[in-house]
Structure formats: structure tokens, C-alpha cells
């Protein structure tokens, strides 16, 4: 399940935004300027069903998102959606993986405490007996130069 973010969970001064998420969900998010650096050597791994509902997360996902595993499982992956991410990026993601292809991009993710972290994300469809049954997303540490490019580019895509 996904809920509006609560001021009690936020660390530091925050701003508020209302996001329209996939599946007709509207969510109030609270976000700060505090970045959590991506840890060296780790991969964040998750699997969702075809509707984008989280069915598996690894330990690094839990640590970086700030949510518990229980809070993440059965929630839409858009629980990580940051208001600085343009909707067009996620449309491209879904169009690509629904076509059975791999998607790769740089994503600013929102933490439960309102902070953020950048990732290089790869999403692939999990094909079993010729059919897409789920999606796996693997995030790794991005290059700072690519992140700087995205910081300039993404505001132009709204």
C-alpha cells in the first residue's frame, strides 16, 4: 500500500508536492535537499508484478529507501517517485519494458525520510515460457557526471 508522506517521518526542512502516479493514485510527497550517497559495491534489486507492485526487494533496497521490507512489499514501485523526475521518463520505461525490451536510465529516488539518492537503473521484463510475468529492476552507482547532466536535463522535460 502507498500512503501520503508524513511530516513525522521527514528529516530536515521539506517542501510538499502532489504526484499523480500510475494506476490513478494521487500522493502527497514531502521532500528535502538531503542526498544519501549511493553505497559503493552494492546493487539495489527489486521485482514487481506486471502492474508495478513490488514483490521482492533486497537488503540494499531497504537500506537506501528508508522503508521497511513490509512497507515496500505490495506497494507500487512509484513509492520511490521523486517530484523532480519527469513523468515522461517513466512513460518511456513502461513503453520499453512492455515491448519486451530492456530500459536503462538515471533516476532520482525519494526516500521515506524525504531525502533522495541517484541511481543508474536497468529494468528488464522477466520472461517465462515466452510470456512476461514480472519485471526486475537493478540499480547501481551512477557516475556523477551523468547525474549532473540529468540535473540539468530533467527540469526541461516537464
Amino acid at each position: 500500500m502507498i500512503h501520503d508522506m508524513k511530516p513525522a517521518d521527514i528529516v530536515g526542512d521539506y517542501k510538499e508536492a502532489v504526484l499523480d502516479l500510475y494506476g490513478g493514485i494521487t500522493r502527497i510527497v514531502l521532500y528535502t535537499d538531503i542526498e544519501t550517497p549511493y553505497p559503493d559495491g552494492k546493487l539495489i534489486v527489486s521485482t514487481t508484478d506486471k502492474e508495478g507492485i513490488i514483490t521482492h526487494v533486497n537488503k540494499a533496497f531497504v537500506e537506501m529507501s528508508g522503508y521497511t521490507e513490509d512497507e515496500l512489499l505490495d506497494s507500487p514501485h512509484s513509492i520511490l517517485r521523486h517530484p523532480d523526475m519527469p513523468a515522461v521518463a517513466f512513460k518511456d520505461l513502461w513503453d520499453t519494458v512492455n515491448a519486451g525490451k530492456h530500459w536503462q536510465g538515471y533516476v532520482k529516488n525519494l526516500r521515506k525520510d524525504g531525502g533522495y539518492y541517484w541511481v543508474k537503473a536497468t529494468v528488464i521484463p522477466n520472461i517465462r515460457q515466452g510470456k512476461v510475468v514480472s519485471y526486475t529492476s537493478v540499480r547501481r552507482k551512477p557516475s556523477r557526471a551523468k547525474v549532473e547532466e540529468c540535473i540539468k536535463l530533467y527540469p526541461t522535460l516537464f
Partner: protein
């Protein structure tokens, strides 16, 4: 016709005799003739796989996709508590403490181990290093990677974590780890080919109970393992999917 058994060429040299001991144990347990053939390179091993001349393989995760999806192999077991991790190291006197500060033109030493090499390249990405802007040299062993680091012939070494940990303390004292991967879900697996798929359950059961008697335990020890655990089809599929995401 005996089973044709092979082991990923990245096996630790210390465990070479262990694989022959394991093969003898397996033949006794199954009553099946099994011929173990070790290959010195991934390329030569893959050529034999392509000719469908392998029935049993302790496979590198990088080859798992090809074995399952193109050759119809099925997973049997993996070693308990063993996963493939990589280390990026530099000479101890190198002023760089963070991968992100490595510069284009960096000279990188690797071995042919395909999964370790891939993990290493991923760990170099934060510095914007890729095949086009670094100089990669392939060495036969991790000892040679370390030696060339110490001699200043290369700037960075990509190691299998286990191989790095096995280097002598003297060598390690002259090196510095920049990153050690903590991926946990990439591992070698013992896999069986389609011609012998009907023996999968029998062999799987023998292997998972191998640590329950003294003889089996001592054979496992010669491989550097504590026990085998079953690999489900979906677990293997998941690892293949994961490897797919990392290969792009």
C-alpha cells in the same frame, strides 16, 4: 558413454585435486561413469559446450544464461554461503582512495573470469570509465594482476574477492581496496545437461545430503565448501535476469 563433467576455468588452483576427488565420489554414489575434463580457458570450454559434449558443469554465472536458455541445462546445486564478489584494488601508495576519482586512461588489469570482470567494470562506472576510455590488460591469474599492480604496470586491479583474500599478507599489505562488491546473489552453480535430465532429482538429493556423513564432508572440504544447497529453477532464472541487467 560416460557423463562429461567440467568445471568453470576460474576454479581456485588449490581446489583442482578436490574436483577430481569430488568426481570419484560422485561416480561411486551414482554408479555412473563420469569423465572430468578441465579446460584452461572459457573459450575452449564454451566450444565444447556448443558441440553438446558436456553433461555436467560447475558453471560460472556468466555462462548460466547460455547453458539454460540455449542448451537446456537445469540447475542442481550451489555451494552454501559462497557468492561471487569482486574487488577493485590499487597499489597502497596510490593517492586515490575513491573509485570516482579515477581518470580516463586508467590502466586496468583483469583476468578472463567473465562475471568478475563484469562486476569490476560496473564498479568502475562511477568514474565514467568504460571500455572506450581505459586500457584493459587481461592476465592469466590474479597473482599476475597483483604483481603488475605492485610493479606499477597497471593502475587498478579487478579481483575475485576470494582470490584477493587468498593473496599473501605481504602482497595485500602493498595493495589498497577501493571497493568490495556486496552483491550476494551471483554464484557458480552445478548444472546438468538435457541428456541426463532424468537423473536430476537423484543427483540433487545426493548432493544436498553430502555434508551429512564424514566422507562427503571431507570431499566438500577439498573443494573449499561446507555443503551444497538446491537451486530452484526460478532462482536460476532470477540470477540470469540479474546478469542480463548487469551486462548492459
Amino acid at each position: 558413454m560416460p557423463f562429461q563433467f567440467t568445471v568453470s576455468p576460474d576454479f581456485s588452483p588449490d581446489h583442482l585435486s578436490g574436483w577430481y576427488i569430488f568426481n570419484t565420489w560422485l561416480q561411486k554414489q551414482t554408479g555412473q561413469a563420469i569423465h572430468l575434463e578441465m579446460y584452461s580457458s572459457f573459450q575452449s570450454q564454451r566450444e565444447v559446450i556448443q558441440r553438446d559434449n558436456i553433461d555436467l558443469i560447475y558453471a560460472n554465472p556468466f555462462d548460466a544464461a547460455m547453458l539454460v536458455r540455449e542448451k537446456g541445462f537445469l540447475p542442481l546445486v550451489k555451494a552454501v554461503g559462497v557468492s561471487d564478489e569482486a574487488i577493485i584494488a590499487v597499489s597502497a601508495d596510490n593517492f586515490i582512495d575513491d573509485v570516482a576519482n579515477l581518470l580516463p586512461g586508467t590502466k586496468v588489469a583483469v583476468t578472463e573470469d567473465p562475471d568478475v570482470r563484469m562486476m569490476g567494470m560496473i564498479m568502475l562506472e562511477p568514474a565514467d570509465l568504460n571500455a572506450s576510455n581505459m586500457e584493459v590488460t587481461v592476465y592469466d591469474t590474479y597473482i599476475l594482476v597483483a604483481k603488475n599492480l605492485l610493479q606499477g604496470n597497471v593502475d587498478v586491479g579487478v579481483f575475485l574477492a576470494e582470490a584477493y583474500d587468498d593473496l599473501s599478507n605481504m602482497i595485500k599489505s602493498k595493495l589498497k581496496i577501493l571497493v568490495r562488491s556486496q552483491i550476494s546473489v551471483i554464484n557458480h552453480s552445478l548444472m546438468i545437461g538435457p541428456k541426463f535430465a532424468d537423473k536430476r532429482d537423484e543427483i540433487q538429493n545426493l548432493l544436498v545430503s553430502m555434508d551429512q556423513d564424514d566422507k562427503g564432508k571431507s570431499v566438500l572440504k577439498s573443494l573449499g565448501f561446507e555443503a551444497w544447497t538446491k537451486v530452484e529453477d526460478e532462482e536460476m532464472e532470477f540470477m540470469i535476469d540479474l546478469m542480463d541487467t548487469l551486462a548492459i
